[in-house]
Amino acid sequence: MNIIVCAKDVVDASEMKIDSNTNKPILEGISKKISDIDKNAIEEAIKIKEKHGGKITAITVGTPDSKERIKELLAMGADEGVLIPYPEKYDYHIVSKLLAEAIKKINEYDIIICGEASTDFFSGQIGPKIAGLLNISQITYAFNLNVEKDKIIGERNMGENSVTTESSYPVLVTVTKEINEPRLPSLMEILGAANKPIHEWNADSLLNDTNTKIETIDIKGISMERKNIVFKDNIDDSVTKLVDSLSKDGVLG
């Protein structure tokens, strides 16, 4: 099985603060990480490889320093990494096209796995958009996968229904967080990853038309103003104070 995993390098939104003067999110100085659900995607790829053999390639469209995070994916068990540095202007469309073109360039693949959505923008469009661009079938929101030699069966969380879908290869799969528990690589694996290749492919070499279709014209921070009153007395006193406060706020009736 040749498996391609698309993984995004994101800012950790839980560390994000809003600049009270400009009302913009402060992105500088926030640590970056592989988007949580994309780690589930790589974990699932490793499990499939453990059973069926093959090769795992992880692709990231990111910043030059995303290489550091790709190393984590290699330490977990991916065989090769591909970094496509963001072109000057990009949007969902350009990122999906770049990934689709990189996948075409890799050429030999049975399964493409993406997380259901990235934790920063949570749009979830890249996976099925790649499937549309490559015109291959898609199994979305999989919380369980059963991979056989000539077909894959996915159980999918579609909200009200659980839908089981079967497909031959090639196929694009998006996974949810429930599908597995991503492994933590050992020190040996981290050291070993240094010998695995990370290729760098330029956007220009993959795409002729790098025009975006969507432009982000503004990002406004939403500040969350809360009273932040914490009662730390003994439990009985804290409970009494809390009930008095809630009553005064008029939220009990």
């Binding site: 469309h93 749009s123 079938s137 898609q138 839908v163 497909s167 009930v243």
Partner: protein, 321 residues
């Protein structure tokens, strides 16, 4: 160029909400509003869509039993090519999101998922969406057409139903490209038919609960409050399955805005906060004084929920009665 507006959702209520926004956009363009029904020929539904603002309803008749993106995107692509619709609104349930994204790939269009508002700015279609787990709103504008936008339920109010509206019904059969996937089973997700989205007061459980049986402490507290419902964070519904997913509050679960939200034993991961940040008053109960949840709360009690919840239930009962 024709700038018609097309809306589609496989969910009737959501489609009616989309027709409301679609109608506003179509009026601004001076163009027609079209919607699509895929499956059995349902003229009654088509007429209902007309009463809610559609001027044209395409019925793509076929024997498709269950939704599949490959087939639905194929049909919609064919209708778009026939009708020159350039603004496509799709209902943002899970089916709709994967459908819109796949369609965007097929027709080489830009796509914005989960729009919280849509309008024309400088004559370009513009949308707002929440990003960074609810910490910011991104304002995004199309610089190309066609434009595909998805909208969740309850973002737009439906128009008033008007039986006098007139519209055109077009029935067609489309050849569907065969895809290499098939649906082999559909079953209802385990559900307890709770509706956290409409609840006025929510008592929500997190990983601080040690056993499934202990959820009763949250239930007993909720029972003392009116308009209450039990909610929970991701691990309780998705991993441990102690409560069904209709209780799940968070980025991938339900988004709620009760007047009072009590988070018990919830650590306050940003994905959970994204689901409950619009609540009126937020109370946090956690034995870890450093728990993130306190930063997002109006009131907090540092303590063991097994001690706090029964005491809080008793105190509330005394207060209310």
């Amino acid at each position: 160029m024709i700038y018609m507006v097309l809306v589609f959702s496989d969910n009737r209520n959501l489609n009616i909400e989309l027709l409301s926004k679609g109608s506003e956009l179509a009026k601004e363009l001076g163009e027609k509003l079209t919607t699509i029904i895929i499956g059995k020929s349902d003229e009654e539904l088509a007429n209902e869509y007309i009463a809610f603002g559609a001027e044209e309803v395409y019925i793509a008749e076929n024997e498709i039993e269950f939704f599949k993106s490959e087939e639905f995107s194929d049909i919609i692509e064919k209708i778009i090519n026939e009708t020159n619709n350039n603004y496509i609104l799709i209902g943002s349930n899970k089916n709709g999101k994967e459908l819109a994204s796949r369609l965007a790939g097929k027709i080489d269009a830009g796509c914005i998922i989960d729009c919280s508002n849509i309008y024309f700015k400088d004559k370009k279609i513009t949308a707002e969406r929440t990003v960074y787990s609810g910490n910011a709103i991104s304002i995004e504008q199309f610089n190309s057409l066609p434009a595909i936008l998805t909208v969740s339920s309850k973002v737009f109010d439906p128009l008033k139903k008007d039986e006098k509206n007139k519209g055109n019904i077009v029935k067609k059969k489309y050849d569907i490209e065969k895809s290499s996937s098939k649906i082999i089973n559909v079953k209802e997700m385990q559900s307890e038919s709770v509706n956290v989205e409409d609840a006025e007061i929510i008592v929500s459980c997190g990983r601080g609960f040690k056993n499934k049986e202990d959820i009763k402490y949250a239930n007993e507290l909720a029972d003392t409050l009116k308009g209450k419902t039990i909610g929970c964070s991701r691990p309780i519904a998705a991993d441990l399955k102690w409560l069904s997913e209709d209780h799940w509050i968070g980025l991938s679960g339900h988004k709620v805005k009760p007047k009072l939200y009590i988070a018990a034993g919830i650590s306050g991961q940003i994905q959970h906060i994204a689901g409950m940040r619009d609540s009126g008053i937020i109370v946090a109960i956690n034995k870890d004084p450093e728990a993130l949840i306190f930063k997002s709360a109006d009131y907090g009690i540092v303590g063991d929920l097994y001690e706090v919840l029964p005491k809080l239930a008793t105190a509330l009962k005394n207060k209310i009665s």
